[in-house]
C-alpha cells in the first residue's frame, strides 16, 4: 500500500505562510542591520591608529621622552584596542552574512506571497506607457532636453565655480624677505594694481589698511595668507602677523629675552629706529632681528621657538641689515665700528632651527647697513655682502671668504643686486660697480665689468631687471642705465626725497617717496610716469608684492592694495 501523494497547499494558505515568513525575515534583517550599525561604531571607536586616548598619551610621551610608564601604558591600551577591533571586525562580517540571509529569505518569501495572489482580469487599455518607438510627447522631448541642458550647465558651470572659488578664497604669493626673492626687489607677478591711493576719501584699489602697534622701518614680508612685520621701542620688541586677505591682526607677540639678550641700545638714530631689519619667513617660521642684536624665531602661530642675543652693535646709525635664509642657516650681517684696532664686524650664520651659531666669520670692514643677498655663480652659491670698503662673497656652507673687491667707500646703505650675470654694488661715496660674480681672492682689478659715477644712492638699493639698472638717489634723482654696458639710458629728477628701495612688478617700477607718494614708472628705455598715488602718511620702507596685491608699510599703518578693491 502506498501513501497518497500530499496535495499542494491552497494558494491562500501558501500566500499567508509566505507572508509570515517574509515578516519574520524582515524583522530578522532589521535586527541584523541594527547589530551591524552598532558593531561598525564599535569598530570605528577602537581604531588604534588615531584613538584620542593614544594620541594624547603619545603627546605626553613627546613631552616626557624619558618616561617608562607611558610607553608601557600605550602598549597595554593599544593591545586591548586591537583585540576589540578584531572582534568587532569578525562580528561585522558575521552580521553582514546574517543580514544578507535575512534579506534573501525576505525577498524570496515576499515574491512567493505576491506570486500567489489571484490574477486580476484582463487589464483595460492604458493611456500612458514607455514606448521608445512611438512618437514621444512634448514632455518626453523636454525631459531629454532637460538632461542635456543639465549636462551642458555642469560642463560650463563647474570650471567657473572652481575659478571663482580659487579667486575668492586664496591668498597666493611669497615675498619672504627684504626685497623679495633673492633680495632683488622684483615681483614674480605682473598684476599689481596701477593706481593706488590710501588717503581718506580718495581711496583707490585699497583693499585694507591696518594699524601697526609699534613703530618700525622693517618692510612687510608675505607668505600666502600671512603678512609679517616687526615693531619695537627701546624696551619692547614685537612681531606681528596679519591676515593677508583682511588685514586682521592675527597675533602680536612680544619677543622674550634669550641667551646673551641685551637691554640696549637706549637710543638709536631716529631714522633707523629699533626695528629696521625686515623679518624673513619660510612659511612655517618667521625670524626677526632687532636693534639690540636679538634674533628671534617664532612659528607662524606666534609661538617663540628660540631667541638669541648677538649683542648691541656699535653702529652709528643702528642695526638695519635684514637677516636672510640660506638653506638651514640664518645669515646675519653685523657690521660695527672698529674697536681697539680689532674688527668687531662679522657675518654670522645661525642654525635656523635652534639658533646655535653654525659659523662666524670676522669682517675687516666699517659699520654698514646693506642686507646680504644669495647669488649663484659658476663656482657655486655665494653670500654677497657690502660694506666700506669691500664687496665680499662668502661660501654659505662654511662662511669662508671666496672673493673681495675693494670698490666701496663711506657709509653704505644700499644692498647689492644681481642681474644679467653681474653683481651691482653702490654707495653714495663710491661709484656703481658691476662685478662678475665668479673668481677667488681679490677681484678688484680683474672682475669689474663697468662703473657709473653719477646720481648715486646712499639709502635706496638699486633695481636691476629688463636689461636696465635704476639708481634712485635720496634726493629723487632717478637714473636708468643699460645693465650690460653701464651706459646711461635716461635720467629724471622726481623732485622728492626717497628712502624706500624701488621695486619692479611686470613692466612697472614702483617708487615710494618719504612723504608717502607712490610713483609708478614704466620699466622702459624712456622715462614715462604711469600713475601716481599716495599713502596719506610718510613711508621709509620697501614694498612687498603677492599675486594681485601690493603691501606697503607707512609710518602708522600697513596697507594692502588690490585692483578693484575700492
Amino acid at each position: 500500500m502506498t501513501a497518497p501523494a500530499a496535495a499542494p497547499a491552497p494558494p491562500r494558505v501558501r500566500r499567508q505562510a509566505a507572508a509570515g515568513v517574509a515578516a519574520v525575515a524582515l524583522c530578522f534583517a532589521l535586527f541584523a542591520v541594527a547589530e551591524t550599525v552598532l558593531t561598525w561604531r564599535e569598530r570605528e571607536e577602537t581604531r588604534a591608529i588615531d584613538h584620542p586616548y593614544l594620541v594624547a598619551r603619545r603627546a605626553d610621551l613627546a613631552r616626557e621622552p624619558g618616561s617608562t610608564a607611558i610607553p608601557a601604558e600605550i602598549r597595554r591600551e593599544e593591545q586591548a584596542l586591537r583585540a576589540r577591533f578584531l572582534v568587532a571586525e569578525r562580528r561585522l562580517a558575521a552580521g553582514g552574512w546574517l543580514l544578507l540571509a535575512g534579506v534573501g529569505v525576505f525577498a524570496a518569501a515576499a515574491k512567493i506571497a505576491l506570486a500567489a495572489r489571484p490574477r486580476g482580469p484582463v487589464p483595460a487599455a492604458r493611456d500612458f506607457g514607455w514606448d521608445p518607438d512611438r512618437a514621444p510627447s512634448f514632455l518626453g522631448r523636454a525631459s531629454l532636453a532637460g538632461i542635456a541642458a543639465l549636462l551642458a550647465g555642469t560642463a560650463v558651470g563647474l570650471p567657473l565655480l572652481r575659478e571663482r572659488s580659487d579667486a575668492v578664497e586664496s591668498a597666493r604669493g611669497t615675498w619672504a624677505r627684504f626685497r623679495g626673492a633673492g633680495g632683488l626687489g622684483i615681483s614674480p607677478y605682473s598684476d599689481a594694481p596701477l593706481a593706488v591711493d590710501a588717503r581718506e576719501g580718495e581711496e583707490r584699489n585699497l583693499r585694507w589698511k591696518a594699524v601697526t602697534p609699534l613703530p618700525g622701518l622693517s618692510s612687510p614680508v608675505v607668505w600666502n595668507e600671512r603678512v609679517f612685520l616687526t615693531g619695537a621701542t627701546a624696551s619692547t620688541r614685537e612681531v606681528y602677523c596679519y591676515d593677508a586677505l583682511t588685514g586682521a591682526l592675527l597675533w602680536r607677540r612680544p619677543v622674550g629675552a634669550g641667551p646673551a639678550s641685551a637691554t640696549g641700545p637706549e637710543s638709536v638714530w631716529e631714522e633707523t629706529g629699533y626695528a629696521a631689519p625686515t623679518p624673513v619667513t619660510d612659511g612655517a617660521h618667521v625670524w626677526a632681528l632687532f636693534a639690540n642684536g636679538d634674533v628671534v624665531c617664532l612659528d607662524v602661530f606666534g609661538q617663540q621657538r628660540w631667541c638669541r642675543g648677538l649683542g648691541v652693535p656699535e653702529n652709528l646709525y643702528g642695526l638695519a641689515a635684514s637677516p636672510i635664509l640660506s638653506g638651514e642657516l640664518l645669515i646675519v650681517q653685523i657690521d660695527q665700528e672698529w674697536g681697539a684696532g680689532e674688527t668687531r664686524s662679522a657675518l654670522v650664520a645661525l642654525s635656523a632651527a635652534t639658533g646655535e651659531v653654525a659659523w662666524r666669520t670676522p669682517r675687516d670692514v666699517e659699520s654698514s647697513w646693506p642686507t646680504p643677498i644669495p647669488i649663484e655663480t659658476p663656482d657655486g652659491p655665494r653670500i654677497l655682502t657690502c660694506a666700506n670698503p669691500f664687496a665680499i662673497a662668502y661660501d654659505p656652507a662654511s662662511g669662508r671668504e671666496v672673493w673681495r673687491a675693494d670698490c666701496l667707500e663711506g657709509d653704505g646703505g644700499p644692498s647689492p643686486v644681481f642681474a644679467g650675470g653681474l653683481v651691482f654694488v653702490v654707495n653714495a661715496g663710491s661709484p656703481l660697480t658691476a662685478l662678475r660674480p665668479d673668481g677667488e681672492g681679490d677681484v678688484t682689478d680683474s672682475h669689474v665689468a663697468w662703473r657709473w659715477e653719477e646720481g648715486l644712492p646712499d639709502v635706496c638699493s638699486p633695481l636691476a631687471g629688463e636689461g636696465l639698472v635704476w639708481l634712485l638717489a635720496s634726493d629723487g634723482h632717478l637714473t636708468c642705465l643699460d645693465d650690460a654696458t653701464g651706459a646711461r639710458v635716461w635720467e629724471h629728477d622726481l623732485e622728492r626725497s626717497f628712502y624706500s628701495s624701488p621695486a619692479l612688478a611686470g613692466d612697472r617700477v614702483y617708487a615710494i617717496s618719504r612723504k608717502g607718494e607712490i610713483l609708478v614708472i614704466a620699466a622702459a628705455r624712456e622715462y614715462r610716469e604711469l600713475a601716481r598715488g599716495h599713502l596719506g602718511e610718510e613711508c621709509d620702507t620697501s614694498p612687498a608684492f603677492a599675486e594681485k596685491r601690493l603691501y606697503v608699510r607707512g609710518r602708522r599703518h600697513l596697507f594692502c592694495f588690490q585692483e578693484g578693491a575700492r
Binding site: 588604534a48 512618437a135 518626453g140 570650471p159
Partner: protein, 427 residues
C-alpha cells in the same frame, strides 16, 4: 561547493588581517620581523571563469528561447549572483571590462588579459545572437536588483526618456577616465560590490542600499538608468539574430504582458497611430537631422570645457597640484603621494609637464565624450521621429532584459504549454 569555495577566502582574510594595521609600538628594542606574504591562490584560473560565463550565457539563451522558463531564469540569476557576485566578489565583470578595453585602445602597452577580453566580448556576442540574455540571468548586478524587485511601478514615459540618457554619459566618462589613466570609475563607484565583498565605504554602502530600496519599486534602476555596458548590449540587441518573443504564436492583444513587464519594455501595436502621424513624423525627422550637428558640436564644446576640471581627478595631475601647493607654501601638510614623489628624485618640472599633457588629453577626450553624448541625444530624437508599424505586442529589442516574466502571463503561451498545441488566436 560554495563552502569549499569560500574556505580559501576565509583563510586569506585571516592571513591578511594582521597586515592591515600599523605595527604596534613595542619599544625601541623590538625587531620587526620581515613581512611574509602568502602566495595568492586562485579558486579558479581566470580563463575558467570565462568558461563559466560562456556556459551561463548558453544556459540563459536556452532558458529564454527554448525552455521559455521564468523560474529557470530566476534560478540561474541567483546562481550567477552567488558565483559572480559573492564568490568572485564582482571582479572581473563585463561591465568593468569596458574600462580595460578603453585603456588598451588608448594605450597599446596597457595590459589586457585574455580573460578580461573574453568577459568583455562573450556577453556582446551572446547578445548579438540571442538578445540580452546576459542581463536576464548572468549579471550579478542585475540579479541582486531582480531579487529585491517586489512591487514594480511604471515610470512616466517622459521621465524614462530622460533617464535613459544617463548610461551614455556614464559610458563616455568611464571610457575617458580609463583611457587617460585617471582610474576605473565604474569599479570605484560600483554600488553593489560592497555587498558582494561585505565591506565598502559607508558612502558606497548607503548608495547601494538606496538603489536597492528604489529597486523594490522601480525595476532594475542601475541596469536601465546607469549601466554603461548596457548601452553596448542595447545596441547589439537591436541587431540580435534571434529576438526575445512574448509568445512564439500569435498575440491575443490581452495586454497582460505589458502589465507585467517591470521594465516598460513591451511595445504596443501602433498601425493606426503610424498612419495618422506620418506627416508630422517627417517634419520631426527633418528637424532632428538639422539639429543633430549643432547638438553634437555644442556638447563637444561643453565636454572640452569640462575636460581640464575632470583632469584634476587624475592622480598625477592631483599630485602636481599638491606639489605646487607645497612649493608655494599654500598647504602645510604633505601627502603620502607627495612624500613618495620627493623621495623618488623625479623632477618637479617633469611632473608639471606630465600634468599639462594629461590636461590636454582630458581636453580632447572631454570633447570626444561630449560629442558622443550629443550624438546619442540626436539619435534618440531621430529615433522618436521614425515610426515602425507593429501589429501586435512585442518585446522591445533594446529595452527588453529577457527576464521571462511575460512568458508566464501570456495566455497563448500558457495554453501552448498546457496542451502542447498552439491555440488559434483572434486578437
Amino acid at each position: 561547493m560554495i563552502a569549499r569555495a569560500l574556505a580559501p577566502l576565509a583563510r586569506e582574510a585571516a592571513i591578511q588581517e594582521e597586515f592591515r594595521y600599523p605595527p604596534p609600538e613595542l619599544g625601541p628594542d623590538y625587531v620587526e620581523p620581515a613581512t611574509a606574504f602568502p602566495p595568492y591562490r586562485e579558486i579558479l584560473p581566470p580563463l575558467a571563469d570565462a568558461i563559466v560565463l560562456a556556459a551561463a550565457l548558453v544556459a540563459a539563451a536556452w532558458l529564454v528561447h527554448r525552455r521559455r522558463s521564468r523560474a529557470g531564469l530566476l534560478a540561474l540569476a541567483i546562481a550567477g549572483l552567488v558565483w559572480f557576485g559573492f564568490v568572485r566578489e564582482g571582479c572581473v565583470c563585463p561591465i568593468g571590462s569596458v574600462q580595460n578595453v578603453a585603456a588598451a585602445l588608448a594605450d597599446p602597452t596597457a595590459a589586457l588579459l585574455p580573460a578580461t577580453v573574453l568577459f568583455f566580448v562573450l556577453p556582446l556576442l551572446a547578445t548579438l545572437l540571442w538578445g540580452r540574455v546576459f542581463c536576464a540571468a548572468v549579471c550579478p548586478l542585475g540579479a541582486i536588483q531582480e531579487v529585491v524587485l517586489l512591487r514594480p511601478t511604471r515610470l512616466p514615459a517622459w521621465l524614462g526618456a530622460g533617464l535613459a540618457l544617463l548610461p551614455h554619459v556614464y559610458l563616455a566618462l568611464a571610457a575617458l577616465f580609463a583611457a587617460t589613466g585617471a582610474g576605473y570609475v565604474i569599479c570605484r563607484y560600483d554600488p553593489f560590490v560592497g555587498f558582494f565583498r561585505l565591506g565598502a565605504t559607508a558612502n558606497m554602502l548607503v548608495v547601494g542600499g538606496c538603489l536597492l530600496a528604489i529597486g523594490v519599486f522601480v525595476g532594475r534602476p542601475y541596469c536601465r538608468f546607469l549601466c554603461p555596458y548596457g548601452v553596448l548590449l542595447g545596441w547589439l540587441a537591436r541587431l540580435a539574430r534571434r529576438r526575445v518573443t512574448i509568445t512564439p504564436e500569435g498575440c491575443a492583444a490581452c495586454r497582460l504582458c505589458e502589465e507585467t513587464c517591470p521594465y516598460d519594455a513591451i511595445t504596443e501595436p501602433n498601425a493606426e497611430a503610424v498612419r495618422a502621424r506620418r506627416q508630422g513624423g517627417r517634419r520631426a525627422l527633418v528637424a532632428a537631422l538639422v539639429f543633430a550637428p549643432l547638438l553634437v558640436g555644442a556638447l563637444a564644446w561643453c565636454g572640452a570645457r569640462l575636460g581640464p576640471t575632470l583632469a584634476e581627478s587624475h592622480p598625477r595631475v592631483a599630485l602636481a597640484a599638491q606639489v605646487a601647493a607645497e612649493e608655494a607654501g599654500a598647504v602645510r601638510e604633505t601627502t603620502d603621494a607627495s612624500d613618495v614623489f620627493r623621495a623618488s628624485g623625479e623632477s618637479i618640472e617633469s611632473l608639471r609637464a606630465e600634468a599639462a599633457a594629461k590636461r590636454r588629453e582630458f581636453l580632447a577626450g572631454g570633447a570626444l565624450a561630449g560629442a558622443f553624448v550629443g550624438a546619442m541625444i540626436a539619435l534618440r530624437l531621430v529615433g522618436f521621429s521614425i515610426r515602425r508599424t507593429r501589429i501586435e505586442y512585442e518585446a522591445h529589442r533594446e529595452g527588453c532584459l529577457a527576464c521571462g516574466r511575460c512568458f508566464d502571463w501570456c495566455p497563448v503561451e500558457l495554453e501552448r504549454r498546457r496542451t502542447g498545441i498552439a491555440p488559434e488566436v483572434h486578437p
